[in-house]
Symmetry: C2
Subunit: 434 residues, 2 copies
């Protein structure tokens, strides 16, 4: 097999065989295919696409490039959850304890964030002492102790995806639905769970700006999951304004804790209960997702889910005192409000600009090697639909560097759109695909 | 400026600015842009194209990446000639002496061949002692001695093109009309002549399979040349069957010599006289291309052109005895005929398969680092339109290795299509664009 012929075939709009895609991914893994040929093929794929069978084959090949985590020592149906990411998305920290409290086994690997605020692993690192790197044995033991564990992704899981993603990022070949799906699903399939609940975000703060694009991605990932024999469901959810009020690593952990104590923002509580309901259903602990959601509500109101969170954090070495008392987190040196300049209703909060503001504050990375300021971030005091008066505080921002704070405030001010009329509310969950 | 943004822009179908293309070519030249970004942009260009202004800017940037040869020490209008290449294309060896014999100054740089048989430089190396590498001073002196010289391309001419071409070759991004035009024309413009006669081939043995594609390429190259202030003309000529009868390096030199002695195949003589006519006109030595062609005919019949060839070969150190007596060339160890299997007329000789046959024989390179067997090749005994009887010799092939000879004979046999009726002849010159 010859890589130039493969590139030419895809460039001409032909279909690649399973063998050709295996050859490609093997060559990426063992560095026998040079990056310049890989990027040429990726660009050709962006123009010509991959059909369903090609996408399945690519996912399988990427999965086969590394280890598959063996979760067989754990009881019951293991259920994983994945979010395509957005601004203020701390759902994993809430959903996993909700599901685990209802008897679902959650053995989850998460990533770090690029752009916007950090990923789940960055957020967990805001908890003093929390260990995100566990050996496979420690990981299994942690799940056995608390019903759930979350660790950073190991290098051995779908290593071909790591290389491909790094290359896509610098060659403008990120935005192809098959490449995105294969990237996400190869890692999810390698993580060893039998069921996967996907949270596919759409809107200004999401990778997929439109509901249509998010549905396309969600549907393809569900097909990949089913093709691999996994129970898979995708919720298409809203990310047109930030989720909840907190954006930034330790701030989001605090908000997750408040939510698990019954004091969270309505949107995040509602979304997390729905996601947990699907996980509980997928894990065989409820007859329907609705029954699963009711069980999650009980786990929330009884405090069982918050207790699960504490057990989980403790099992991974974290200081659980900060979960009840956020003053234990390292605090940013400076904070300042972003002030409304006119009267009216908040008609829009551009989530991507809020993400950019949090990046300005130091809460997110601009490049992979940037360090992150876990205490920096912002808390929204107004959300879409809220009435505002000139001079009201729209958000409170915090950072160590006053210059960064200034940049963040300016960006936040521009993210808020104040209109005369109260806008029609957008649905929180646009669709459920299974 | 940022390469990822450039790639994204072109991917989205936007127009790149002159500054962006200069940035790109500079980065290719000084290796600040990694190959994987270059190949991604090249693939995006293959899908989205470059408009005329972008193509001009790309050509200029590639030209500016290296030296421009100074031919001002030479008298009169310097005229260059370029062929897009094909099977049995030995025209440069005939056209340059014809034009030079009529007073046109021809200071030409040529390339080596990839695929099929060798390039002009490979063919010249079949002449014992011939030096294809001259210093710029030696080059100028050689032209002053014999009115013409042909040397291998130096590394200093459009070095960015060299890098880009090497990358295009291994990333299936060769076939874009703007990239091809910019590649050819940047080198032609750097070669320092004031006028350029382009021989753009079309048909099964050409890079451009259809007349339409060849016209598109020719027209764009003419525009690039004119935009750079050069007199430029493109002849769209036929390459559906091999040109002349000889394919292979020393065999083609012999055929060129026979042609200059008035004993060449009709097609090659006719095409070379036309090309030379355009060069003589472009060089200001005739009032029209037709008058130029008449002058070339006289230079042929008087023997003046053959004398020019001998002076040129001698000035570059070659053994001129082989020009009159081909037995002085190194001879291949084995030769064998390809035999007709049925009666009828030759309705087609697939030039690309003949090219492949010559590659099998060892006359062409499969990869850039392959060595070439200068004595290997084939001579067609039948051409399209000729009547054949079963058992007739279609071609005589020669090679050092009997196994290669076998492969070549099989491929040649498959290249010949024998039909019941004499086919309509294809025109030799499809169009002249200026």
């Amino acid at each position: 097999m010859n890589m130039v012929e493969l590139i030419q075939k895809k460039k001409d709009g032909e279909t690649l065989t399973r063998e050709e895609l295996v050859f490609f991914i093997r060559g990426v893994s063992d560095d026998t295919i040079p990056d310049y040929q890989t990027s040429a093929l990726l660009m050709a794929i962006c123009f010509q696409g991959l059909d369903k069978e090609e996408t399945f084959a690519l996912t399988d090949a990427m999965l086969a490039s590394g280890d598959v985590i063996d979760l067989s020592a754990l009881p019951g149906v293991k259920v994983d959850k994945h979010s395509t990411g957005g601004v203020g998305d701390k759902t994993s920290l809430i959903v996993a304890p909700l599901a685990a409290a209802c008897g679902v086994t959650v053995a989850k690997m998460s990533g770090r964030g690029l752009g916007f605020s950090g990923g789940t692993i960055d957020k967990l690192e805001a908890i003093p002492g929390f260990r995100v790197q566990l050996s496979e044995e420690e990981f299994i033991a942690a799940v056995q102790t608390s019903g759930m564990a979350i660790i950073g992704q190991t290098a051995d899981v779908a290593p071909a995806d790591k290389k491909l993603y790094a290359l896509r990022d610098v060659t403008a070949t990120v935005d192809n639905v098959s490449l995105i799906s294969a990237s996400i699903m190869s890692k999810k399939l390698a993580s060893g769970s039998q069921a996967i609940v996907l949270d596919v975000k759409c809107g200004s703060g999401a990778f997929m700006k439109t509901e249509k694009a998010a549905r396309e991605l969600g549907a393809l990932m569900v097909e990949i999951g089913k093709n691999a024999g996994k129970t898979t469901v995708a919720l298409i959810t809203d990310m047109d304004q930030p989720l909840g009020r907190a954006v930034g690593n330790s701030l989001e952990v605090s908000e997750a804790c408040e939510t698990l104590q019954g004091n969270g923002p309505a949107d995040i509580q509602e979304l997390c209960l729905s996601l947990a309901g699907h996980m509980i259903f997928a894990g065989g602990k409820a007859q329907t997702p609705e029954e699963g959601k009711k069980m999650a509500e009980e786990a929330l109101s009884s405090g069982a889910a918050f207790e699960t969170l504490k057990r989980f954090v403790k099992a991974q070495g974290g200081d659980i005192s900060v979960l009840s008392d956020p003053s234990g987190f390292k605090q940013a040196l400076h904070s300042a409000p972003c002030i409304a300049k006119s009267d009216g209703y908040v008609s829009q909060i551009e989530a991507d600009r809020i993400g950019l503001a949090s990046q300005h504050l130091g809460a997110g990375r601009k490049t992979k090697d940037d360090s992150i300021d876990l205490s920096a971030g912002l808390v929204l005091e107004k959300k879409v639909g809220d009435p505002v008066k000139k001079g009201d505080t729209l958000a409170v921002l915090s950072a160590d560097d006053p210059e960064k704070l200034k940049l963040g405030i300016q960006e936040t001010g521009e993210a808020f759109v104040i209109g005369e009329n109260r806008p029609e509310p957008r649905p929180l969950i646009h669709a459920v695909l299974s």
